[in-house]
Symmetry: C2
Subunit: 583 residues, 2 copies
Amino acid sequence: MYRNRTNGELRLEHVNQEVTLAGWVQKSRDKGFMIWVDLRDRYGVTQLIFDEERTDKEVFELARTLGREFVIQVKGKVIEREAKNKNIPTGEIEILVKELKVLNKAQLPPFTIEDETDGGDELRMKYRYLDIRRTPVRNNLIFRAKVNMEVRKYLSDQGFIDVETPYLIKSTPEGARDFVVPSRMNAGQFYALPQSPQTFKQLLMVGGLDKYYQIVKCFRDEDLRADRQPEFTQIDCEMAFVEQEDILDVFEGLTRHLLKEINGVEISKFPRMSYEDAMKTYGNDKPDIRFDMKFGELNDLAQNKGFQVFDQQELVVGISVPACAGYSRKEIDALIDFVKKPQIGANGLVWVKYSEDGTLKSSVDKFFSEEDLGLWAERLRTNPGDLMLVMAGGTDKTRSQLSTLRMHMAEKLGLRKKNEFAPLWVVDFPLLEWDEETNRFHAMHHPFTSPKPEDLHLLEATPGKVRANAYDLVLNGNEIGGGSIRIHDKATQKRMFQLLGFTDEQAQDQFGFLMDAFQFGAPPHGGIAFGLDRLVSILGGQETIRDFIAFPKNNAGRDVMIDAPSVIDQEQLNELSLKVEIK
Amino acid sequence: MYRNRTNGELRLEHVNQEVTLAGWVQKSRDKGFMIWVDLRDRYGVTQLIFDEERTDKEVFELARTLGREFVIQVKGKVIEREAKNKNIPTGEIEILVKELKVLNKAQLPPFTIEDETDGGDELRMKYRYLDIRRTPVRNNLIFRAKVNMEVRKYLSDQGFIDVETPYLIKSTPEGARDFVVPSRMNAGQFYALPQSPQTFKQLLMVGGLDKYYQIVKCFRDEDLRADRQPEFTQIDCEMAFVEQEDILDVFEGLTRHLLKEINGVEISKFPRMSYEDAMKTYGNDKPDIRFDMKFGELNDLAQNKGFQVFDQQELVVGISVPACAGYSRKEIDALIDFVKKPQIGANGLVWVKYSEDGTLKSSVDKFFSEEDLGLWAERLRTNPGDLMLVMAGGTDKTRSQLSTLRMHMAEKLGLRKKNEFAPLWVVDFPLLEWDEETNRFHAMHHPFTSPKPEDLHLLEATPGKVRANAYDLVLNGNEIGGGSIRIHDKATQKRMFQLLGFTDEQAQDQFGFLMDAFQFGAPPHGGIAFGLDRLVSILGGQETIRDFIAFPKNNAGRDVMIDAPSVIDQEQLNELSLKVEIK
């Protein structure tokens, strides 16, 4: 037995007990006649004391050799501290050490193992096992496990069955790019790793399982953007005999449960917003509604007043930024530079300061009277002291640009409070979206999403106008979950594949098993999937998913700790009937 | 809302309530003036009644068209049945249907959806979604989910943290063959799918996480034997600052918890047996101890009595089969044929019948007196009425053959009772085993297993004699879990790789990250992994893991339902810098 207590549990009540502890040397202070060592483990830090008078000479000398991150075991007596430390739970006691054993020495770590570290990102990733020793990182992993377990408890209590679906499945070109796995036993053939267990969970509904869930790894071979991982975790759910309302109800319940159990926040009914309204009001289908700054469209007020920059545009739209009328020229210029950045790509920004004294001053005073600007202020619900920011251009682009600016202002003003939670259902998504590049429709959610029955008549003539029974759950400006009611009859599914540009042969070849299944008594069904990495990071008050993944990959998809991917033996390639050909 | 009740919950107390139900037509009986339909869902079966007098004509006619597996929704009143069915929980009531809606028609399924089906294995796999509709299959999946959740509850209550380790890792040639995943972004390089999260969980211990668990898919590209899957699920655990005793204690606790919660069986202390004793007593390192028939070695009693077949052999060993002294010549011949089968490969079998009247008769009466045979009986603890079966040959081979015969006899005699559970720890495994084929040592458990300190002095001269801190948990003749205390210092790990035939460069290239980690303060640690598929099937009183996997693959590693693996597009291959070359 290496220990009978952990380093987080000893208190005044344990004084005089003999204990055995083990852990890492966090730091030591050698005062000559006395040595203090902070001993750390997952559970906390306990102070050890070695005393020239009271400690055996050999033990005392050994204590003098202890370096940072040495792994040691000690036996000793719990005593009351003279100088108490109120900052840690064990701060009232210390251990007068009688026996000391070095279990493992340690080289000096490449960065300090403390809450704030001096290690850069790459270094911490290479030595991730040392990074995990740092309390904030370890706490993130513990937090993730807690969320995971609460999800399971809730869903399991609701009668959901955790079913494992296969990881070695079939490659299909719809959606993102698959990771593939060559099959040795079937030369020239490949499995694919699942982008999601979508078809399997639908088949489980056809199979009568009624309520399914799984917390499952999914894989997408995408060019990695910041904070995307090639492998990610989904809370994947499906229910049979349900309509959209049933699903929203259950998963609003799940989210409410998590907010309560994990964050201690009680939220009653989640608001809902149509996709169309979200785009109109926030320029975004995942609006952060913790703060206001709603869009106001100004076409009727701002066009045909002689300002050509507005006149020729599809949309003139603005927001009102609270209490920023006092912005200096320099601050305004910074905002203009911000929207002109290539990633945002706006041509400029019109500003109107609504002073506390009621006067209005703008960058377009030449074209608009104070009365004009007063009408803008009314539309944008601007109060004295606020700053209006107005953009113009093509509708989609301008909304997106203003949305980015809105989020930027919210960050600046500290409106994105990490302990405040504002969930929102966004509903009535379009079924299809036109892709200019491939010149065809893509499924906005996925090809298995059902059109709204009331929009079915539009499917032939104007498929772009058909809305889907699809919904996203948005939390603090992030999409944390999304799902849909599925198609459950072969004819509709076949038609859907046609709309997406599949030949009937392709559809049958790739998804024949699913369409066949629909002919043997498929119940109405639907589901949702949450991105666990994202959900956990938001509940944890952070926005970087990598901080909540034990061993993340970098932006090139590499694990720099184990150095993967890597070349493999020629023999392995031969067995797989493969040859590498780098062009 | 498709339903306000499920098909398993209505009882007499609900009589006169109006309900809405949905589900599948299990069967219907049309008596002309009355139609009964059994409506099925996950929760049970409810009888519907359509009555010429009380049911609307249109509804009645529609009911007449219902075929097996149609998906329907009905509204009606709960009424008391005249002829009650005591066999099902809803057997006292039925639903007098007022409204009927066909939600989806169904083609005739390719096999009957009943507890006993007429579908063969291949057909059921191809239409696995229909197979899952059958109660026994569905119940297996629900059972698995229950075991999964109980494991989580227990481990989480014990302070274990569920951490997800990566699926896209690095290929290493030690152990079984890896499945590999070509990396598009790193041309010519490959990830591997994990055979287990072994090194990652050890790094989590180095990282101070203290107690880790994960229920995780693992992958092995092996030539599939019966009842092996290329992807399988492990309950994977690791603890820091532990000795073997601590681990056995915690996981004996887990197994006891499962047996109690899942099977209602209480077992106190699990017996332990050394690997050496297990091999000597049962010819097997995973003995089924639900029944006796222990091996008795007879060299001293049976050799040098003129029976040459025994004299030249390394080992003469027998078992005593209870109450089989009355076996006919034909029955005995069948046993001899059994052990001579190529898979077993014995040359023959000596039998001795110990009659109820105390006389002894054998196939070797020419060479052995009744007194000789009496001594055998004593050694084998044979009682009057029992049958002794004796084999001879090389030690390892003969033990293995007799072990197979012992299990065969137990099956025949019904001694492998599925509701009886006999767990057993097998400990003190050898560290290494010699592999004739490659002419080198292999790690019996894996290269990270630590030698027993007291055997360390044997490591240089007679490495084959070194025992490991390794242990298996055996349940009813199946290994359900195995683990070890790990090496946690670089020098020992390096030496281990040398013993396994690695050059220092190979070891550093493949496991350098782990050996480096050991230099930064690695705590003593160890762990265990359970095979969930196997564990679940044994707790479920069955031995075929495939019956507890939602979508299993066949023995050629194919998913016959979705038809995977399959060929992929040339474009995909190009992107991966790969060319298929089938020789």
